[in-house]
């Protein structure tokens, strides 16, 4: 008789626990709101600093993203020109590049929509490059000054990104993006082996890395739905 009562009480406890757990689960998993709440547009301060302070690099970059819950669609566009003195001559390039990709925000429940993210980008670049150099050949031949050009080259690459976006004041945001760039491919003149691709960097280095310190302004058109706080 005692064992029957014990079994009945245990069964009731399991039933009620299961019912409560099911209710908690329903509350903990609200339906995600994938409608964008605004878009952010900004620029890379490092590129601007390098352009102002040095003579070997000129460039700028515009970054943007739009939110779909904790997923962000991102797009960047920029220009990049280098004039580098090499050991036996001079190398120059200039071009335009863009990147597009997705970031995943791991601070999805933050009411200010601050971000710590990991993402992926696909990059594409249109550029030209030239090199002038002095060659001293072995045996018989007089030295040669060579000028070689790669006038309409293009290339692609991929990026794994990691970064932070922090709301500073109203629509003002600061952040960084660290990039691991990989799998560069270039199409251009067969008489020129591309050295530096705008947006990517030195082609021989794969993977290669990049870092942006960025300032943004966020244009919001609707309020973010704050997820309910667990009690």
């Amino acid at each position: 008789m005692l064992s029957t009562i014990k079994f009945f009480i245990s069964a009731c406890l399991i039933f009620f626990t299961a019912s409560l757990y099911a209710q908690v689960k329903k509350v903990a998993k609200p339906k995600k709101d994938y409608i964008p709440t605004g878009f952010r547009v900004g620029t890379d301060l490092i590129d601007l600093g390098k352009t102002i302070s040095g003579s070997t690099f000129t460039g700028w970059e515009v970054n943007s993203d739009v939110d779909f819950a904790n997923y962000y669609l991102t797009a960047d566009v920029g220009t990049w020109g280098k004039d580098i003195l090499i050991k036996n001559g001079d190398y120059k390039n200039s071009g335009t590049y863009y990147r597009a990709g997705i970031d995943i925000n791991f601070l999805g429940s933050d009411p200010d929509k601050n971000m710590f993210f990991i993402g992926f980008r696909a990059g594409h670049s249109f550029f030209n490059e030239s090199v002038t150099y002095h060659t001293t050949a072995s045996h018989l031949y007089s030295p040669l000054d060579t000028t070689s050009t790669n006038p309409s080259a293009s290339g692609n690459w991929g990026e794994l990104t990691n970064g932070l976006r922090v709301k500073v004041w109203k629509g003002l945001w600061l952040g960084y993006t660290a990039r691991m760039k990989f799998a560069p491919t270039v199409h251009g003149s067969p008489n020129f082996a591309t050295y530096d691709m705008p947006g990517y960097g030195v082609i021989q280095n794969s993977p290669w890395w990049g870092f942006n310190y960025q300032i943004f302004w966020r244009f919001a058109w609707r309020k973010n739905k704050v997820p309910p706080v667990k009690k």
Partner: protein, 161 residues
């Protein structure tokens, strides 16, 4: 997920250590080996001189005056073809070999400079029969770690006598 972040950070720092090497593999020397047609083994060829086109003055001569089983011939860096005329010790009939090629400019690194790589080597004209010439590498390359020995250069052609 924290492990994924950790791995990503490690890869970022690993990439920072990936520094370029000043390894120059460019050369304008074409590597020929001489072989015996009957058994395909190395053979010594008695060369007196080799005339080379495109040099200054118009035709310079490499003085060999010895028996050799292989030779490095410098391609004309000012043109896309070079003609070599082989003069033998034991024959009054010289042989001619004209080769064509393309040049590719390549910046190795800022501190190393730029160099010309010669590629797509091909025989344009020759007094050797087609069966006497066997092509190997169509690029002129040198392994800088092996000094100036013949073995440092990629073999471009074998010529059978």
């Amino acid at each position: 997920m924290k492990y994924a972040v950790l791995i990503l950070i490690c890869v970022f720092f690993g990439s920072c250590l990936n520094d370029g090497n000043c390894l120059i593999t460019a050369t304008n020397n074409m590597h020929l080996q001489f072989k015996k047609e009957s058994n395909k083994l190395d053979t010594l060829v008695d060369l007196t001189t080799i005339s080379v086109s495109g040099t200054d003055p118009d035709s310079s001569i490499l003085i060999i005056n010895s028996s050799t089983k292989e030779i490095l011939l410098p391609l004309d860096i000012h043109n896309d073809k070079t003609t070599f005329i082989f003069n033998y010790k034991n024959s009054s009939t010289p042989d001619t070999l004209q080769v064509g090629y393309t040049a590719q400019s390549k910046v190795i690194a800022k501190d190393c400079g730029a160099f010309t790589y010669y590629q797509n080597l091909n025989v344009l004209h020759s007094s050797f029969k087609e069966s006497q010439i066997k092509a190997f590498s169509t690029s002129l390359l040198k392994d800088p770690t092996l000094g100036n020995s013949y073995s440092a250069y990629a073999v471009n052609y074998q010529i059978f006598y």
